[in-house]
């Protein structure tokens, strides 16, 4: 009797899927930035809305006084970047969850990324180039 000869089963060779850990890092980023934002944002809301008369004492001179200090410049710049990236990443997840068509998902994300770039650029520009003696 001859033995049955069957080659070992194997799947056809194909290139390994290009895996990235992006979603893992994004998950981790949400938690790390969230932790920092708790201090930055709640502190900001407390100072601006509750402390010492709250919003009613805010005007150009108030902003000029705060941004004369590198501490508050750094505070606001970190808050701007962390909040925009944290919120943008959150909205990216929301778009991924609810957009039904690929085209809708694509264009909503383009809109999101453009708005994030605009806000980050404008906000950083304002903090770095603020001029307390601006005329007008």
């Amino acid at each position: 009797m001859s033995t049955l000869n069957i080659s070992a089963p194997r799947s056809p060779r194909r290139p390994a899927a290009r895996r990235s850990n992006f979603e893992l890092y994004s998950w981790l980023f949400m938690r790390l930035s969230g932790l920092l934002l708790i201090v930055l944002v709640l502190g900001h809301l407390f100072i601006m809305n509750i402390l010492d008369g709250g919003v009613h004492r805010i005007n150009f001179a108030f902003v000029a006084g705060r941004w004369s200090s590198p501490f508050w410049q750094f505070w606001d710049l970190s808050m701007l970047w962390l909040a925009e990236l944290h919120g943008g990443n959150g909205l990216r997840t929301v778009i991924n969850d609810y957009a039904r068509k690929d085209a809708t998902r694509f264009w909503l994300k383009i809109l999101l990324y453009v708005s994030m770039a605009l806000i980050l650029a404008l906000g950083s520009f304002v903090i770095f180039t603020f001029d307390p003696n601006i005329s007008g």
């Binding site: 938690r31 969230g34 944002v41 709640l42 919003v55 150009f60 304002v126």
Partner: protein, 147 residues
Amino acid sequence: MASTTAPPTGAAEGTGGSSRRGSTVYRGDLGMWSWVAHRITGVLTFFFLFAHVLDTAVVRVSPNAYDKVIELYKNPLVNLLELGLVAAVLYHALNGIRIMLVDFWAKGPRFQRPMLWAIIAIWVIVMIPGAYFMLQRNIVMIFGGGN
């Protein structure tokens, strides 16, 4: 699908969850609503951030222009919206802490429900004086009283 997501006899804590027979829609428990609220408050805050960076950018135009824009924030109606913003951000922050405890603390998942009640309690305790200090001036201005 429905049989795996909603066991008829509540397992560890599922007695509060409602699942209608024949429906495949996930009707989660309290934890689902905390997630829904987390999304809504997050998206609203993100949209506010967009507007807020634009209005703050007016400091780069002129002191007068900025003072005019910031005057809007002192309007009683907008003041009320600011209270809503603080309420939303505070919930998002507290629930964010709860999420991190569920993720990184070994006992977190077991205590997710009492932790939700705890953050709701903290939220109420902080919001009462917060609302008082934020609205006080406009309420006095509208309804008179004193100087």
